[in-house]
């Protein structure tokens, strides 16, 4: 899992630029992070990880800021802190966030692995970095692919003939 390093205070308008919002997620995905990391949208591979500075996801409630990263195949975002609204949105659309106080130690391009339930990620050289625990119901949600698949489970059976 290749690491894409990003600075502090990455905001929702950088993740999902306002001028792209009316055109749908595929268009937004092509412009994701163009203002801070122009090589990201074209270069990111399925399973890659973003490692960012503090306050990742500050700004608007647009959940496209999280779903665009799911669309691009990002496996997780690791940062010392997240904006609260972005945090909720990410789990709701099936994007795993790992709050890691020592995220700054990880280098751009490094290969890392993580275990979300154990609250731990492992650097290329084997160094383990602890992550804040995530409530079980949020891990269940992200593993289900977000809130929508869970709602499907909840509402679909009511549609079936008994």
């Amino acid at each position: 899992m290749r690491v894409w390093k990003l600075p502090a205070d990455v905001d929702t308008d950088q993740l999902a630029p306002g001028h792209t919002m009316k055109h749908g997620l595929e268009v937004t995905a092509r412009h994701c992070l163009e203002a801070v990391r122009p090589d990201f949208a074209a270069g990111v591979q399925r399973g890659d990880v973003i490692v960012a500075g503090p306050n990742f996801g500050i700004g608007s409630s647009r959940e496209q800021a999280a779903s665009v990263l799911v669309q691009l195949g990002v496996a997780a975002v690791v940062a010392p802190s997240f904006a609260g609204l972005f945090f909720r949105n990410a789990f709701n659309v099936g994007l795993l966030l790992l709050t890691c106080p020592q995220a700054g130690r990880i280098a751009d391009g490094e290969a890392i692995t993580f275990d979300a339930r154990a609250g731990r990620l492992t650097r290329a050289g084997g160094e383990a970095l602890p992550c804040d625990p995530i409530p079980g119901f949020l891990l269940d949600m992200v593993e289900a692919g977000g809130l929508l698949p869970q709602l499907r489970q909840r509402f679909k059976p009511a549609q079936e003939p008994r």
């Binding site: 306050n55 608007s60 802190s81 904006a83 609204l85 709701n92």
Partner: protein, 421 residues
Amino acid sequence: MPSPATLAQKLIARAAGRAQVTPGEIVTCRVDLAMFHDSSGPRRLQPRLAELGAQIWDRDKVVLVIDHYVPEADEESRRIVKIARDWAAEQALPHVYDSMGICHVVVPQHGHIRPGMFCVGGDSHSPTGGAFGAYMFGIGATEMLGVVVTGEIWLQVPQTIFMRWSGRLADGVSAKDMMLAMLARHGMNGGRYQAVEFCGEAVAALPMAERMTLANMSAELGAQTGLVAPDDTTRAWLAAAGAADVDTTPWHSDEDAPGVRHAYDGSTLAPQVALPHSPANVRAVDDLEPTRIDIAYIGACTGAKLDDLRAAARVLAGYRIAPGVQLLVAPASLKDAAAAEREGILRHLTEAGATLLPSACGACAGYGAAIREGATVISSTARNFKGRMGSATAQVFLGSPYTVAASALQGRIADAREILS
């Protein structure tokens, strides 16, 4: 005896059907009001509701405001707004405000938000409702779908961060300056997604519109909500908005309630300006390098309510703006625009050289008439992220409506106190 509790705890306990709640615990709350707009609402909800075969849990508790893509500037905007209108008709939604102004202003102006309520909004500036002593916060479209089909939402009970403002603000200094000063001290995520409560003499003296500005920009502080305990000012404003006789007595923090406390002196506060490209990149206006401007923008839920327009008109009445400067004014709602018209404020603004724009989100979020490339802008809006207003090369400064008006007059970022005195 229940232990001392904050306003936030009391509001959440009520919505969770509990006697009391403790910061840190996760609870499920019943939602009293769900607000969404044309950008976050129907175009995302409609196909998913259809897919789930689910119904809106309570139509009377849903409010739709069409404010982001109006007036429709292009085909895509027309398509999005049409989805919202068609869906509202199909669902027979009882509360729809179409092209009447910005949701955070229109919804309270029609009496939908009252002290004690627990509300969610499909927009990050939803904490604005906290100005009325309601617990209100922003959520994304998927989570709104969950609320719309269940009427419930989970919440981690927040700590409360008390921002106590002593003293009285000087003439020409406003709630926007208070908020920029708090952002300067605490930073954009300083609210840590906890509840902020604004209190003290300077807050109690603020009219509702100014309290709304504080609560609104709690989003920039990174708080989940921003509260002001309701009082006589709240009651009088709500009565005029059609919500008479609200009971405010239960809705205040106990004196010894737990929380983090910060103190500010309102009487010494100078006008504040946020420099590009962050609302927390703040200086006092007097400490700024001389900064020429091309565009002065008075708009948005944050900075174009009736009181904001009054502030601008006090500065501009009887003067002309500087040559080469464009002053754009987009009143936050039709109600505010109509009141400003009656008071003669709009005439003062247009005679000074202002161009009036529709009451919608507009340039604040890069919708509609965007700011041109390379422009230097002073704006009464909430955010100046790079590219936010539709141009990646624009330099956007944030200030109060007083500061924006004074800057339009002088052609550079200016201190309104010099003009008012």
